[in-house]
Symmetry: C2
Subunit: 351 residues, 2 copies
């Protein structure tokens, strides 16, 4: 029997995480009788108590200004505080704790609570990117890791539909970037080139997992994608290591590809597509010089949970949590479906 990746189960290696993923494409035939989610809520009338709204009074009594573009403020319930006492040294190698200092911010993308990235103008998205760069510049001076991330949709635990992301900066390098730092460094030492630069070149040659590209960026479904419609957004030119390395063209074209990719996502199941997205780039802080991370390539990750429709998601549960992630459709099939989705007209603007 000849091996066909769209028919025959196999495992694939994720060189960034040094992990494997089980691909079982024949399982797409499985009927679904489990839990469904509520359809993502659409254009509800704006909630005047929404604490992210321009001019709103927040839980702590502070009032937001009447902002017209982006707006950043400290998270009122931060998981990371700037000043905390240090835990005592460990009395046993199996009971180790360590100090964690940091800060958490909320960043609104737009004053309108019903707005989302694919519906915003390029100029409005550019303002978001510009603010990301500012935040990284400021927080990156003090903190080792600045995680910019967006939880979009109630299904992703997002407690507020207002378009926003979060920024959690920490004194420590968290697990995921720590592992990626190591795997990219190992590859760089061995091959003399950044892992993701080599990877992107191969993907551009192979073409089968590319979703969309412009002059500066590529959005693709990684060969080792875990979530059904997971994508990675990678820069094509100049190997920027951090958001702060982007030039003007890269920023403008990033706004372009973000709008197009998100329009495709929303058009896939005709819903405001839920996801976690975030940026990974070289570590920052006083211990990292701008030039000491040639093994890194900046990239964004979109991790969306939907599998079959606006209401049926992929559950990462028993086998996935205890053994290994598993996916049904192949990354190539996901890329093809996303390629076929319109990137220019959003389903809400069709009539």
């Amino acid at each position: 029997m000849e091996f066909k990746p769209t028919e025959h189960q196999h495992v694939r290696y994720n060189p960034l995480k040094d992990e494997w993923i089980l691909v079982s494409p024949h399982r797409c035939l499985r009927p679904w009788s489990g839990q469904t989610e509520e359809s993502p809520t659409e254009d509800q009338s704006p909630d005047l108590n929404n604490p992210l709204r321009s001019g709103a009074t927040r839980a702590n009594g502070q009032k937001n200004p009447i902002y017209t573009s982006t707006y950043v403020f400290p998270n009122d319930f931060p998981a990371l505080l700037a000043r905390v006492p240090e835990p005592p040294p460990a009395d046993h190698p199996l009971f180790q704790s360590s100090q964690a200092k940091g800060t958490c911010r909320v960043m609104c993308f737009h004053p309108d609570s019903t707005m989302t990235i694919p519906l915003m103008t390029i100029a409005e998205i550019e303002a978001v990117i510009e603010e990301w760069v500012n935040q990284l510049k400021e927080l990156g001076r003090r903190f080792t890791w600045v995680q910019i991330f967006e939880n979009k949709g109630a299904i992703m635990g997002c407690s507020n539909p207002h378009p926003h992301c979060q920024i959690w900066a920490s004194s420590f390098l968290p697990n995921e970037p720590r592992i990626k730092d190591r795997t990219q460094k190992d590859y760089y030492i061995k091959h003399g080139k950044p892992l993701l630069v080599d990877y992107l070149n191969e993907e551009l040659r192979k073409e089968e997992r590319i979703v969309i590209e412009n002059t500066e960026w590529v959005a693709l479904v990684p060969y080792w994608a875990t979530w059904p419609y997971e994508t990675m957004v990678l820069p094509k030119n100049g190997s920027p290591q951090r958001l702060t390395d982007l030039n003007e063209d890269q920023k403008t074209m990033l706004a372009d590809i973000m709008k197009k990719l998100n329009t495709k996502y929303d058009n896939l199941f005709n819903c405001s597509f839920p996801y976690c997205m975030g940026w990974h780039g070289a570590p920052t802080g006083p211990n990292h010089l701008p030039s000491d991370s040639p093994h890194w390539l900046l990239h964004a990750l979109y991790l969306p949970p939907l599998l079959r429709s606006a209401t049926v998601k992929k559950f990462m549960v028993g086998y996935e949590m205890l053994a290994q992630p598993q996916r049904d459709l192949t990354p190539e099939q996901a890329a093809q479906r996303l390629r076929e989705c319109d990137h220019s007209v959003h389903y809400k603007n069709k009539n």
Copy 2:
């Protein structure tokens, strides 16, 4: 300021996964206005179309026998099949795939669809344990890893409320046990004793994370627990490495602690407590001799998502997926709350 683990954020090290977890206990004060789940369904009238029912006809036309205890059958939509062609060798180090062979089974715990472990008798739970041992014995001869796991509750992607677990056996060692094999081996080489044996001894001395124990087993909230009410069930005597190593006393007392722990779980929020649970023990298959894994200690893991109530769960989303897991209440606080829950009378049997 003096460090107080229940007040001050810190990171803790998980020596089994070689990962850290961010503990932010001050965040318990955060109000919740995000997505809530439907309350786990209770005692609905049994669905006569339920394919797991004794005597039911399944999707493929096969008929279940009129079983009266446990019942095991092949998963009708398996993620792992026994025979698949081998993928071609990788043409690039960043595009590696490999063969995955295996088998997936479903194991019913009880003929009654409304039954759950805490409501079953000790003898009925013993039958479940006995069948786990049989399955591991049979599948472990051929397969490197036999993952026994239970997804309980719709919130955990469980598509059928009938009490059951799954068994996925594979030709490869999945990520999670692969890492645990390495970390336990490293510890064993360095300290001459199994990591989890040393760990359990320390926990029994410290007492603050113990939930419940009997003569043979301990259920505790690990020092590095990720999920709010995560527990680990560990054997106290004889260092069994696999389920097949358990003696009669260990099996009987395992039924006892499973019933008690699950009664506590259900009594915590007065609901049938959702979770993923599963077993981790030394690898099996033709490449593993019974005696070649002295670094392993068999243990069960319970990974339940609920955080605040029967309907509010912990979301492992943006920061957790892109950076590092985060928890609010400390493992010690979780252990105390579980200790305070009644283990002898289930809330459904109270009146």
